[in-house]
Amino acid sequence: MADLAVQQDVPESQVYPDAPAVRFEDVSIDFEGKDVLEHISFEVKRGETRILLGPAGVGKSVLLKLANGLFRPDSGRIFVFGYEVSAMPEEDLFRLRETIGIVFQEGALFDSLTVRDNVGYRLMEQHVPDDEIDQRVTEALRFVELEHTLTKLPSELSGGMRRRVAIARAIITKPDLLLYDSPTGGLDPITSTTIMELVIKQRDFYGTSSLLVTHRLQDAFMLVSHRFDKETSTIMQLPDGTTDPSTSFLVLHQGKLVFDGSTHDLVHSDDEFLKQYLA
Protein backbone atom coordinates (compact mmCIF):
# COMPACT_ATOMS: atom_id res chain seq x y z
CA MET A 1 0.00 0.00 0.00
CA ALA A 2 1.43 3.39 -0.97
CA ASP A 3 2.41 5.84 1.69
CA LEU A 4 0.19 8.91 1.47
CA ALA A 5 3.09 11.09 2.56
CA VAL A 6 4.95 10.51 -0.71
CA GLN A 7 1.93 11.00 -2.97
CA GLN A 8 1.76 14.78 -2.77
CA ASP A 9 1.23 15.51 -6.48
CA VAL A 10 -1.41 12.86 -7.29
CA PRO A 11 -4.92 13.03 -5.83
CA GLU A 12 -5.41 10.14 -3.39
CA SER A 13 -8.32 8.84 -5.44
CA GLN A 14 -6.11 8.46 -8.56
CA VAL A 15 -3.14 6.62 -7.04
CA TYR A 16 -4.88 3.28 -7.66
CA PRO A 17 -7.10 4.05 -10.68
CA ASP A 18 -8.29 0.45 -10.99
CA ALA A 19 -9.35 0.13 -7.35
CA PRO A 20 -13.06 0.47 -6.58
CA ALA A 21 -14.24 3.58 -4.73
CA VAL A 22 -15.22 1.51 -1.69
CA ARG A 23 -14.61 -2.13 -0.85
CA PHE A 24 -15.72 -3.94 2.32
CA GLU A 25 -14.17 -7.35 2.98
CA ASP A 26 -15.82 -9.46 5.68
CA VAL A 27 -16.27 -6.48 8.02
CA SER A 28 -17.69 -6.95 11.51
CA ILE A 29 -18.09 -4.53 14.40
CA ASP A 30 -19.76 -4.69 17.78
CA PHE A 31 -20.59 -2.09 20.39
CA GLU A 32 -20.50 -3.08 24.07
CA GLY A 33 -20.74 -6.76 23.22
CA LYS A 34 -23.65 -6.35 20.79
CA ASP A 35 -22.95 -7.33 17.18
CA VAL A 36 -23.91 -4.39 14.95
CA LEU A 37 -22.47 -5.51 11.61
CA GLU A 38 -21.45 -9.08 10.79
CA HIS A 39 -19.30 -10.22 7.88
CA ILE A 40 -20.22 -7.41 5.50
CA SER A 41 -18.67 -7.56 2.03
CA PHE A 42 -19.56 -5.37 -0.94
CA GLU A 43 -18.11 -2.92 -3.44
CA VAL A 44 -18.91 0.53 -4.79
CA LYS A 45 -17.33 0.89 -8.22
CA ARG A 46 -16.12 4.22 -9.49
CA GLY A 47 -18.96 6.35 -10.79
CA GLU A 48 -21.50 4.01 -9.25
CA THR A 49 -24.24 4.93 -6.75
CA ARG A 50 -25.23 2.33 -4.20
CA ILE A 51 -28.32 2.71 -2.06
CA LEU A 52 -28.08 1.06 1.34
CA LEU A 53 -31.53 0.15 2.59
CA GLY A 54 -32.58 -1.34 5.89
CA PRO A 55 -34.84 -0.82 8.88
CA ALA A 56 -33.93 1.85 11.45
CA GLY A 57 -31.19 0.86 13.89
CA VAL A 58 -29.74 -1.88 11.71
CA GLY A 59 -26.26 -0.33 11.48
CA LYS A 60 -26.49 1.68 8.25
CA SER A 61 -24.91 4.83 9.71
CA VAL A 62 -22.20 2.74 11.38
CA LEU A 63 -21.35 1.24 7.99
CA LEU A 64 -21.05 4.71 6.48
CA LYS A 65 -18.77 5.88 9.29
CA LEU A 66 -16.66 2.76 8.81
CA ALA A 67 -16.27 3.68 5.14
CA ASN A 68 -14.99 7.12 6.15
CA GLY A 69 -12.63 5.72 8.80
CA LEU A 70 -14.55 7.38 11.62
CA PHE A 71 -14.96 3.93 13.20
CA ARG A 72 -12.57 1.00 12.98
CA PRO A 73 -13.93 -2.50 12.37
CA ASP A 74 -13.28 -5.30 14.88
CA SER A 75 -12.43 -7.59 11.98
CA GLY A 76 -12.30 -7.43 8.20
CA ARG A 77 -10.79 -4.82 5.90
CA ILE A 78 -12.17 -1.66 4.30
CA PHE A 79 -10.62 -0.03 1.24
CA VAL A 80 -11.38 3.41 -0.17
CA PHE A 81 -9.76 4.17 -3.54
CA GLY A 82 -7.36 1.30 -2.84
CA TYR A 83 -6.25 2.59 0.56
CA GLU A 84 -7.02 0.38 3.53
CA VAL A 85 -8.83 2.86 5.78
CA SER A 86 -9.28 0.21 8.47
CA ALA A 87 -5.52 0.15 9.02
CA MET A 88 -4.43 3.71 8.22
CA PRO A 89 -3.05 6.09 10.84
CA GLU A 90 -5.47 8.91 11.65
CA GLU A 91 -3.02 11.48 10.24
CA ASP A 92 -3.13 9.82 6.78
CA LEU A 93 -6.90 9.42 7.00
CA PHE A 94 -7.31 13.18 7.30
CA ARG A 95 -5.67 13.58 3.91
CA LEU A 96 -7.61 10.76 2.27
CA ARG A 97 -10.84 12.32 3.56
CA GLU A 98 -10.13 15.37 1.41
CA THR A 99 -11.41 13.23 -1.49
CA ILE A 100 -14.53 12.12 0.42
CA GLY A 101 -17.64 14.17 1.13
CA ILE A 102 -20.11 13.10 3.79
CA VAL A 103 -23.60 14.35 4.59
CA PHE A 104 -24.54 13.45 8.16
CA GLN A 105 -27.98 12.38 9.31
CA GLU A 106 -28.85 15.71 10.97
CA GLY A 107 -26.49 17.78 8.85
CA ALA A 108 -23.92 18.16 11.67
CA LEU A 109 -23.28 21.78 10.77
CA PHE A 110 -20.99 23.74 13.11
CA ASP A 111 -23.59 25.70 15.05
CA SER A 112 -21.30 28.61 15.95
CA LEU A 113 -20.22 29.23 12.34
CA THR A 114 -22.17 30.98 9.59
CA VAL A 115 -23.35 29.11 6.50
CA ARG A 116 -20.42 30.62 4.57
CA ASP A 117 -17.90 29.36 7.13
CA ASN A 118 -19.59 25.95 7.35
CA VAL A 119 -19.56 25.41 3.62
CA GLY A 120 -16.09 26.88 3.19
CA TYR A 121 -14.65 25.16 6.29
CA ARG A 122 -12.44 22.78 4.38
CA LEU A 123 -11.10 25.60 2.19
CA MET A 124 -10.39 27.77 5.23
CA GLU A 125 -8.42 24.91 6.77
CA GLN A 126 -6.41 24.70 3.54
CA HIS A 127 -5.72 28.48 3.77
CA VAL A 128 -7.36 29.17 0.41
CA PRO A 129 -7.60 32.98 -0.21
CA ASP A 130 -10.82 34.57 1.06
CA ASP A 131 -11.95 35.71 -2.39
CA GLU A 132 -11.71 32.20 -3.78
CA ILE A 133 -13.53 30.79 -0.74
CA ASP A 134 -16.38 33.28 -1.26
CA GLN A 135 -16.61 32.37 -4.92
CA ARG A 136 -16.60 28.61 -4.35
CA VAL A 137 -18.99 28.80 -1.40
CA THR A 138 -21.45 30.82 -3.48
CA GLU A 139 -21.10 28.30 -6.31
CA ALA A 140 -21.76 25.35 -3.95
CA LEU A 141 -24.70 27.15 -2.36
CA ARG A 142 -26.11 27.95 -5.79
CA PHE A 143 -26.05 24.23 -6.55
CA VAL A 144 -28.38 23.66 -3.57
CA GLU A 145 -30.27 26.92 -4.30
CA LEU A 146 -29.34 28.57 -1.03
CA GLU A 147 -26.93 31.34 -2.04
CA HIS A 148 -29.00 33.89 -0.09
CA THR A 149 -28.20 32.21 3.25
CA LEU A 150 -24.47 33.03 3.23
CA THR A 151 -24.41 35.05 6.46
CA LYS A 152 -27.02 33.08 8.40
CA LEU A 153 -26.29 30.76 11.32
CA PRO A 154 -27.51 27.13 11.10
CA SER A 155 -30.04 27.83 13.87
CA GLU A 156 -31.74 30.35 11.57
CA LEU A 157 -32.37 27.70 8.88
CA SER A 158 -35.11 25.11 8.53
CA GLY A 159 -34.29 21.38 8.74
CA GLY A 160 -34.37 20.99 4.97
CA MET A 161 -32.16 24.03 4.42
CA ARG A 162 -29.63 22.73 6.94
CA ARG A 163 -29.50 19.43 5.05
CA ARG A 164 -28.94 21.30 1.78
CA VAL A 165 -26.14 23.35 3.36
CA ALA A 166 -24.60 20.05 4.52
CA ILE A 167 -24.70 18.83 0.91
CA ALA A 168 -23.04 22.06 -0.25
CA ARG A 169 -20.33 21.56 2.40
CA ALA A 170 -19.78 17.99 1.22
CA ILE A 171 -19.47 18.86 -2.46
CA ILE A 172 -17.50 22.12 -2.33
CA THR A 173 -14.16 20.40 -2.95
CA LYS A 174 -15.69 18.22 -5.68
CA PRO A 175 -14.98 14.95 -3.85
CA ASP A 176 -14.59 11.65 -5.68
CA LEU A 177 -16.78 9.80 -3.21
CA LEU A 178 -19.95 11.00 -1.49
CA LEU A 179 -21.46 9.35 1.56
CA TYR A 180 -25.05 10.34 2.38
CA ASP A 181 -26.40 9.33 5.77
CA SER A 182 -30.22 9.45 5.56
CA PRO A 183 -30.22 12.86 3.84
CA THR A 184 -34.02 13.03 3.92
CA GLY A 185 -34.61 11.61 7.40
CA GLY A 186 -37.19 13.60 9.36
CA LEU A 187 -38.08 15.89 6.46
CA ASP A 188 -41.46 16.49 4.84
CA PRO A 189 -42.12 14.86 1.41
CA ILE A 190 -41.64 18.05 -0.61
CA THR A 191 -38.30 18.88 1.03
CA SER A 192 -37.26 15.23 0.70
CA THR A 193 -37.90 15.40 -3.02
CA THR A 194 -35.78 18.56 -3.26
CA ILE A 195 -32.91 16.81 -1.46
CA MET A 196 -33.17 13.69 -3.64
CA GLU A 197 -33.17 15.88 -6.75
CA LEU A 198 -29.86 17.33 -5.56
CA VAL A 199 -28.45 13.83 -5.07
CA ILE A 200 -29.57 12.87 -8.60
CA LYS A 201 -28.11 16.09 -10.00
CA GLN A 202 -24.78 15.40 -8.28
CA ARG A 203 -24.76 11.80 -9.55
CA ASP A 204 -25.56 12.65 -13.17
CA PHE A 205 -23.76 15.98 -13.47
CA TYR A 206 -20.45 15.05 -11.83
CA GLY A 207 -20.69 11.23 -11.92
CA THR A 208 -19.46 11.04 -8.32
CA SER A 209 -19.29 7.59 -6.71
CA SER A 210 -21.83 7.55 -3.89
CA LEU A 211 -23.09 5.43 -1.06
CA LEU A 212 -26.48 6.57 0.15
CA VAL A 213 -28.08 5.29 3.32
CA THR A 214 -31.83 5.53 3.71
CA HIS A 215 -34.79 3.66 5.11
CA ARG A 216 -37.25 5.50 2.87
CA LEU A 217 -38.13 3.37 -0.13
CA GLN A 218 -39.71 6.27 -2.04
CA ASP A 219 -36.37 8.13 -1.98
CA ALA A 220 -34.47 5.04 -3.11
CA PHE A 221 -36.81 4.38 -6.02
CA MET A 222 -36.82 8.03 -7.01
CA LEU A 223 -33.04 7.82 -7.31
CA VAL A 224 -33.16 4.83 -9.67
CA SER A 225 -36.10 6.05 -11.73
CA HIS A 226 -35.02 9.64 -12.42
CA ARG A 227 -32.14 11.35 -14.16
CA PHE A 228 -30.79 14.89 -14.42
CA ASP A 229 -31.04 16.36 -17.88
CA LYS A 230 -28.01 18.56 -18.46
CA GLU A 231 -29.55 20.44 -21.38
CA THR A 232 -32.72 21.54 -19.62
CA SER A 233 -31.22 21.39 -16.11
CA THR A 234 -34.26 19.51 -14.88
CA ILE A 235 -34.93 16.18 -13.21
CA MET A 236 -36.74 13.83 -15.58
CA GLN A 237 -38.38 10.48 -15.01
CA LEU A 238 -36.86 7.59 -16.94
CA PRO A 239 -39.18 5.69 -19.31
CA ASP A 240 -41.33 2.98 -17.69
CA GLY A 241 -39.46 -0.22 -17.03
CA THR A 242 -36.02 1.39 -17.13
CA THR A 243 -33.79 2.34 -14.25
CA ASP A 244 -30.51 4.16 -13.88
CA PRO A 245 -27.83 1.57 -14.71
CA SER A 246 -25.23 3.10 -12.38
CA THR A 247 -27.47 2.84 -9.33
CA SER A 248 -27.97 -0.39 -7.41
CA PHE A 249 -29.00 -1.64 -3.99
CA LEU A 250 -27.63 -3.11 -0.78
CA VAL A 251 -30.00 -4.22 1.98
CA LEU A 252 -29.04 -4.70 5.62
CA HIS A 253 -31.07 -6.78 8.02
CA GLN A 254 -30.09 -7.66 11.59
CA GLY A 255 -26.49 -6.64 10.98
CA LYS A 256 -26.10 -8.79 7.88
CA LEU A 257 -26.08 -7.88 4.21
CA VAL A 258 -29.09 -9.74 2.83
CA PHE A 259 -29.12 -8.25 -0.66
CA ASP A 260 -26.54 -6.88 -3.11
CA GLY A 261 -27.79 -6.29 -6.64
CA SER A 262 -29.77 -4.32 -9.17
CA THR A 263 -33.21 -2.74 -8.86
CA HIS A 264 -34.68 -5.52 -11.02
CA ASP A 265 -33.23 -8.24 -8.78
CA LEU A 266 -34.44 -6.45 -5.68
CA VAL A 267 -38.07 -6.08 -6.74
CA HIS A 268 -38.17 -9.66 -8.05
CA SER A 269 -36.45 -11.22 -5.06
CA ASP A 270 -38.10 -14.25 -3.41
CA ASP A 271 -36.57 -13.46 -0.04
CA GLU A 272 -39.35 -13.22 2.55
CA PHE A 273 -37.79 -10.29 4.41
CA LEU A 274 -37.25 -8.31 1.21
CA LYS A 275 -40.81 -8.97 0.04
CA GLN A 276 -42.15 -7.80 3.39
CA TYR A 277 -39.79 -4.81 3.46
CA LEU A 278 -40.74 -3.66 -0.02
CA ALA A 279 -44.46 -4.25 0.44
Binding site: N68, F94, R97, F104, E106, A108, F110, D111, E125, R169
Partner: protein, 259 residues
Protein backbone atom coordinates in the same frame (compact mmCIF):
# COMPACT_ATOMS: atom_id res chain seq x y z
CA UNK B 1 -20.98 -7.14 44.20
CA UNK B 2 -20.20 -10.10 41.91
CA UNK B 3 -16.55 -10.57 40.94
CA UNK B 4 -17.34 -10.05 37.23
CA UNK B 5 -18.73 -6.57 37.98
CA UNK B 6 -15.58 -5.63 39.91
CA UNK B 7 -13.53 -6.95 37.04
CA UNK B 8 -15.52 -4.96 34.46
CA UNK B 9 -15.36 -1.78 36.58
CA UNK B 10 -11.58 -2.15 36.96
CA UNK B 11 -11.19 -2.62 33.21
CA UNK B 12 -13.32 0.46 32.55
CA UNK B 13 -11.18 2.45 34.98
CA UNK B 14 -7.92 1.36 33.36
CA UNK B 15 -9.36 2.06 29.90
CA UNK B 16 -10.44 5.56 31.00
CA UNK B 17 -6.94 6.34 32.35
CA UNK B 18 -5.44 5.03 29.12
CA UNK B 19 -7.78 7.14 26.98
CA UNK B 20 -7.12 10.21 29.11
CA UNK B 21 -3.35 9.72 28.81
CA UNK B 22 -3.58 9.24 25.06
CA UNK B 23 -5.73 12.34 24.61
CA UNK B 24 -3.33 14.43 26.70
CA UNK B 25 -0.20 13.11 24.99
CA UNK B 26 -1.57 13.43 21.45
CA UNK B 27 -2.90 16.92 22.11
CA UNK B 28 0.42 18.13 23.47
CA UNK B 29 2.27 16.38 20.62
CA UNK B 30 0.09 18.37 18.22
CA UNK B 31 1.68 21.54 19.53
CA UNK B 32 4.70 20.75 17.37
CA UNK B 33 2.83 19.57 14.25
CA UNK B 34 1.37 21.60 11.42
CA UNK B 35 -1.10 23.19 11.04
CA UNK B 36 -0.59 25.36 14.12
CA UNK B 37 -3.85 26.85 15.39
CA UNK B 38 -2.41 30.07 16.86
CA UNK B 39 -5.61 32.07 16.37
CA UNK B 40 -7.59 29.43 18.29
CA UNK B 41 -5.08 29.65 21.17
CA UNK B 42 -5.57 33.43 21.33
CA UNK B 43 -9.38 33.06 21.21
CA UNK B 44 -9.34 30.48 23.99
CA UNK B 45 -6.88 32.55 26.03
CA UNK B 46 -9.33 35.44 25.83
CA UNK B 47 -12.31 33.28 26.79
CA UNK B 48 -10.52 31.43 29.58
CA UNK B 49 -8.13 34.09 30.86
CA UNK B 50 -9.80 37.46 30.37
CA UNK B 51 -13.23 35.93 30.93
CA UNK B 52 -12.18 34.52 34.30
CA UNK B 53 -10.53 37.73 35.49
CA UNK B 54 -13.55 39.17 37.41
CA UNK B 55 -14.18 36.01 39.45
CA UNK B 56 -10.47 35.54 40.13
CA UNK B 57 -10.09 39.15 41.33
CA UNK B 58 -13.15 38.93 43.57
CA UNK B 59 -12.16 35.56 45.01
CA UNK B 60 -8.57 36.65 45.60
CA UNK B 61 -9.55 39.93 47.24
CA UNK B 62 -12.02 38.46 49.68
CA UNK B 63 -9.81 35.46 50.46
CA UNK B 64 -6.93 37.79 51.36
CA UNK B 65 -9.32 39.91 53.39
CA UNK B 66 -10.79 37.08 55.41
CA UNK B 67 -7.34 35.57 55.91
CA UNK B 68 -6.15 38.84 57.47
CA UNK B 69 -9.31 39.08 59.56
CA UNK B 70 -9.06 35.55 60.97
CA UNK B 71 -5.30 35.41 61.43
CA UNK B 72 -4.91 38.86 62.99
CA UNK B 73 -7.10 37.98 65.97
CA UNK B 74 -5.26 34.68 66.54
CA UNK B 75 -1.83 36.27 66.09
CA UNK B 76 -2.81 39.07 68.47
CA UNK B 77 -3.17 36.47 71.27
CA UNK B 78 0.56 35.80 70.91
CA UNK B 79 1.44 39.43 70.40
CA UNK B 80 2.30 38.76 66.80
CA UNK B 81 -0.36 40.75 64.97
CA UNK B 82 2.43 42.59 63.18
CA UNK B 83 3.19 39.57 61.01
CA UNK B 84 -0.31 39.46 59.52
CA UNK B 85 1.14 40.61 56.19
CA UNK B 86 3.65 37.75 56.22
CA UNK B 87 0.94 35.17 56.91
CA UNK B 88 -1.34 36.53 54.21
CA UNK B 89 1.39 36.68 51.54
CA UNK B 90 2.71 33.23 52.45
CA UNK B 91 -0.75 31.67 52.35
CA UNK B 92 -1.83 33.44 49.21
CA UNK B 93 1.30 32.82 47.17
CA UNK B 94 2.03 29.24 48.21
CA UNK B 95 -1.46 27.80 48.58
CA UNK B 96 -4.64 29.80 48.36
CA UNK B 97 -3.79 31.83 45.27
CA UNK B 98 -3.03 28.84 43.02
CA UNK B 99 -5.63 26.49 44.49
CA UNK B 100 -8.59 28.86 44.72
CA UNK B 101 -7.88 30.39 41.32
CA UNK B 102 -7.69 26.91 39.81
CA UNK B 103 -10.92 25.82 41.48
CA UNK B 104 -12.67 28.94 40.18
CA UNK B 105 -11.31 28.48 36.67
CA UNK B 106 -12.17 24.78 36.87
CA UNK B 107 -15.78 25.56 37.82
CA UNK B 108 -16.05 28.02 34.99
CA UNK B 109 -13.96 26.49 32.23
CA UNK B 110 -13.68 22.72 32.76
CA UNK B 111 -17.48 22.71 32.73
CA UNK B 112 -17.53 25.00 29.69
CA UNK B 113 -15.12 22.79 27.76
CA UNK B 114 -16.95 19.59 28.67
CA UNK B 115 -20.34 21.00 27.71
CA UNK B 116 -19.14 22.64 24.48
CA UNK B 117 -17.21 19.63 23.22
CA UNK B 118 -19.90 17.28 24.58
CA UNK B 119 -22.60 19.10 22.60
CA UNK B 120 -20.41 18.89 19.51
CA UNK B 121 -19.98 15.15 20.10
CA UNK B 122 -23.67 14.35 20.43
CA UNK B 123 -24.60 16.45 17.39
CA UNK B 124 -21.88 14.73 15.29
CA UNK B 125 -19.97 18.00 14.82
CA UNK B 126 -16.75 16.32 16.00
CA UNK B 127 -17.29 13.51 13.46
CA UNK B 128 -18.00 16.15 10.82
CA UNK B 129 -14.76 17.90 11.69
CA UNK B 130 -12.81 14.66 11.33
CA UNK B 131 -14.63 13.90 8.10
CA UNK B 132 -13.64 17.33 6.78
CA UNK B 133 -9.99 16.48 7.36
CA UNK B 134 -9.38 18.35 10.64
CA UNK B 135 -7.99 16.67 13.74
CA UNK B 136 -10.23 17.77 16.64
CA UNK B 137 -7.41 17.13 19.09
CA UNK B 138 -5.36 19.68 17.18
CA UNK B 139 -8.12 22.19 16.49
CA UNK B 140 -10.14 21.97 19.71
CA UNK B 141 -8.15 20.31 22.49
CA UNK B 142 -4.59 21.60 22.01
CA UNK B 143 -5.54 25.32 22.03
CA UNK B 144 -7.60 24.82 25.19
CA UNK B 145 -4.74 23.09 27.02
CA UNK B 146 -2.11 25.64 25.99
CA UNK B 147 -4.24 28.68 26.74
CA UNK B 148 -5.47 27.33 30.09
CA UNK B 149 -1.91 26.62 31.27
CA UNK B 150 -0.65 30.05 30.19
CA UNK B 151 -3.63 32.03 31.43
CA UNK B 152 -3.91 30.23 34.76
CA UNK B 153 -0.29 31.14 35.45
CA UNK B 154 -1.06 34.84 35.03
CA UNK B 155 -4.44 34.64 36.76
CA UNK B 156 -2.69 33.15 39.78
CA UNK B 157 -0.26 36.07 39.90
CA UNK B 158 -3.22 38.48 39.72
CA UNK B 159 -5.01 36.55 42.45
CA UNK B 160 -1.92 36.59 44.70
CA UNK B 161 -1.48 40.33 44.26
CA UNK B 162 -5.15 41.14 44.78
CA UNK B 163 -5.30 38.79 47.80
CA UNK B 164 -2.39 40.57 49.46
CA UNK B 165 -4.10 43.89 48.73
CA UNK B 166 -7.37 42.55 50.17
CA UNK B 167 -5.48 41.49 53.30
CA UNK B 168 -3.93 44.97 53.48
CA UNK B 169 -7.35 46.56 53.14
CA UNK B 170 -8.64 44.63 56.14
CA UNK B 171 -5.44 44.86 58.23
CA UNK B 172 -5.05 48.59 57.69
CA UNK B 173 -8.64 49.72 57.17
CA UNK B 174 -10.47 47.55 59.70
CA UNK B 175 -7.83 46.43 62.19
CA UNK B 176 -5.81 49.65 62.23
CA UNK B 177 -2.43 48.07 61.45
CA UNK B 178 0.39 50.01 59.87
CA UNK B 179 0.38 49.72 56.07
CA UNK B 180 4.15 50.02 55.75
CA UNK B 181 4.69 47.26 58.29
CA UNK B 182 2.14 45.01 56.57
CA UNK B 183 3.74 45.30 53.15
CA UNK B 184 7.27 45.15 54.52
CA UNK B 185 6.53 41.86 56.30
CA UNK B 186 4.62 40.52 53.32
CA UNK B 187 7.55 41.19 51.02
CA UNK B 188 10.62 40.59 53.20
CA UNK B 189 9.57 37.16 54.45
CA UNK B 190 9.15 35.73 50.95
CA UNK B 191 11.96 33.71 49.40
CA UNK B 192 12.39 32.40 45.89
CA UNK B 193 11.29 28.82 46.74
CA UNK B 194 7.95 30.23 47.96
CA UNK B 195 7.43 32.10 44.70
CA UNK B 196 8.54 29.08 42.67
CA UNK B 197 6.10 26.82 44.50
CA UNK B 198 3.26 29.24 43.85
CA UNK B 199 4.09 29.55 40.17
CA UNK B 200 4.71 25.89 39.41
CA UNK B 201 1.34 24.80 40.75
CA UNK B 202 -0.87 26.67 38.22
CA UNK B 203 1.03 25.03 35.36
CA UNK B 204 -0.04 21.59 36.58
CA UNK B 205 -3.51 22.75 37.60
CA UNK B 206 -4.09 24.36 34.19
CA UNK B 207 -3.14 21.11 32.51
CA UNK B 208 -5.56 19.19 34.75
CA UNK B 209 -8.46 21.61 34.12
CA UNK B 210 -8.12 21.59 30.34
CA UNK B 211 -7.38 17.91 29.83
CA UNK B 212 -10.14 16.75 32.17
CA UNK B 213 -12.66 19.17 30.64
CA UNK B 214 -11.74 18.09 27.13
CA UNK B 215 -11.57 14.39 28.02
CA UNK B 216 -15.10 14.34 29.41
CA UNK B 217 -16.34 16.50 26.53
CA UNK B 218 -14.79 14.27 23.87
CA UNK B 219 -16.18 11.14 25.53
CA UNK B 220 -19.74 12.37 25.92
CA UNK B 221 -22.42 9.85 25.00
CA UNK B 222 -26.19 9.90 25.31
CA UNK B 223 -27.62 13.22 24.16
CA UNK B 224 -28.27 16.25 26.35
CA UNK B 225 -28.37 14.11 29.50
CA UNK B 226 -24.88 12.90 28.62
CA UNK B 227 -23.69 16.49 28.18
CA UNK B 228 -24.96 17.35 31.67
CA UNK B 229 -23.26 14.29 33.14
CA UNK B 230 -19.95 15.11 31.44
CA UNK B 231 -20.07 18.70 32.67
CA UNK B 232 -20.62 17.65 36.29
CA UNK B 233 -17.96 14.95 36.14
CA UNK B 234 -15.43 17.33 34.61
CA UNK B 235 -15.81 19.85 37.45
CA UNK B 236 -15.81 17.23 40.20
CA UNK B 237 -12.84 15.26 38.88
CA UNK B 238 -10.73 18.30 38.02
CA UNK B 239 -11.40 19.88 41.45
CA UNK B 240 -10.42 16.71 43.31
CA UNK B 241 -7.32 16.25 41.14
CA UNK B 242 -6.27 19.86 41.73
CA UNK B 243 -6.39 19.42 45.50
CA UNK B 244 -4.62 16.05 45.33
CA UNK B 245 -1.95 17.46 43.00
CA UNK B 246 -1.53 20.45 45.32
CA UNK B 247 -0.59 18.06 48.12
CA UNK B 248 1.86 16.18 45.90
CA UNK B 249 3.57 19.34 44.60
CA UNK B 250 3.73 20.92 48.08
CA UNK B 251 5.25 17.76 49.53
CA UNK B 252 7.75 17.56 46.69
CA UNK B 253 8.77 21.23 46.88
CA UNK B 254 9.07 21.22 50.67
CA UNK B 255 11.21 18.11 50.32
CA UNK B 256 13.53 19.92 47.90
CA UNK B 257 13.66 23.43 49.37
CA UNK B 258 12.84 22.68 53.00
CA UNK B 259 10.05 25.27 53.19
Amino acid sequence: MPLSSVDAAAKRGVAAVQQYSLLSARSLGNLFRRPFYGADIITQADLIGVGSLPIVILTGFFTGGVLALQSASTLAQFGAAAITGQLVSFSMIKELGPVLTSLMVSGRNASGMASELGSMMVTEQIDAMRALGTDPLKKLVMPRIVSTIIMLFFLTIVSDAVGILGGAGVAVGLLGQDASQYFHNAYQSLQYPDILQGLVKPLFFGFIIATIGCYYGMNTRGGTQGVGRSTTQAVVVSSVLIIAMDFVISNFMIGIFGR
